[in-house]
């Protein structure tokens, strides 16, 4: 089956790339000792706090780790709600 797919040239991520991506993701959590579920909790609380003061696009909020060599950052990307810039 996979031979057939390959012969037809259908793109398929290599298992090498998949392994690397999965490792990078799991290690972010390992290194910070924070589970994926905890990230969701942090995200919900950030939304709750900011929403008190500013109208934000809650569906677009993203909280994630970025990793450098051996240093990681927690990054929150919080889009403002539509119409925020068009002061009524």
């Amino acid at each position: 089956m996979s031979w057939f797919k390959r012969l037809r040239g259908e793109p398929q991520p290599s298992s090498r790339d998949t392994a690397k991506q999965r490792l990078q993701l799991v290690l972010v959590h390992d290194r910070n000792q924070i589970s994926p579920g905890m990230i969701e909790l942090i995200k919900d609380e950030i939304i709750a706090v900011i929403s008190k003061h500013i109208e934000i696009d809650t569906a677009g909020v993203q909280v994630s780790f970025t990793h450098g060599e051996r240093e990681n950052k927690l990054v929150a990307d919080i889009p403002l709600a539509d119409g925020w810039r068009t002061r009524k």
Binding site: R6, L7, S14, S15, R16, V26, L27, R31
Partner: protein, 269 residues
Amino acid sequence: MPARVITITSGKGGVGKTTTTANVAVALALLGKRVVCLDADIGLRNLDVVLGLENRIVYDVVDVIEGRCKLRQAMIKDKRLSELYLLPASQKRDKSAVKPDDLVKICLDLRPDHDFVLIDSAAGIEEGFRTAIAPADEVIIVTNPEVSAVRDADRIVGLVEAAEKGPAKLIVNRLKPELVQRGDALDTSDVLDILAIELIGIVPEDELVLISTNRGTPAALDDKSRAGMSFRNIARRLTGEDVPFESFREEANVFGRFAKFLRGDGRTS
């Protein structure tokens, strides 16, 4: 010059710590270095069989610690190399029989008369690992290019740093160049991206390692073994020589290259 004490560890079991310890020790002795390898995997003794010295053990490291013999009485001289010694683990006792300070003291006694003391650590991150790194000047982490081994190695990198024994150096063991070229295995560069520590060796998968272990004559003694060559290169790097890293590109077989050409998708960049 007093000996450098190097602990070889991995986190995950079965990645080739003992084989690596035995082969690097043999390779260092081939370079004329005075080497002691110390089996710190108490209760699961194996460095003796890999080196082919199992029939000559009278005393072990626990006997030394508990005063039943002198340090020199427990050290087994290698059959082939006059400057290689093994200090075996106890097979009857468990990890608690050896404390970190015990190993520090033994290494203190070994340092003046040798160039290298290689310590084969127990797997895991608990007592056995902590005891094994206590006397270390340097730590080498052995991993395989696969997700569980690399994940555990990452944990060890952090623990070695926390114990102020870092930065550890890395050996990628059992690399399969054919699988890497096909895009079906992590390459050394992937492992290095993730672990971000200094590489000291890449050892390819080689069935001669199993065969040589069957016989109790480490592959580093075999000129025909490509893994043996890699172990000898590691020894040379440890002595400060600048030895380029093996690429193994040409090792991948003709069929593999043909299959890649057929796919023509460049997945294996």
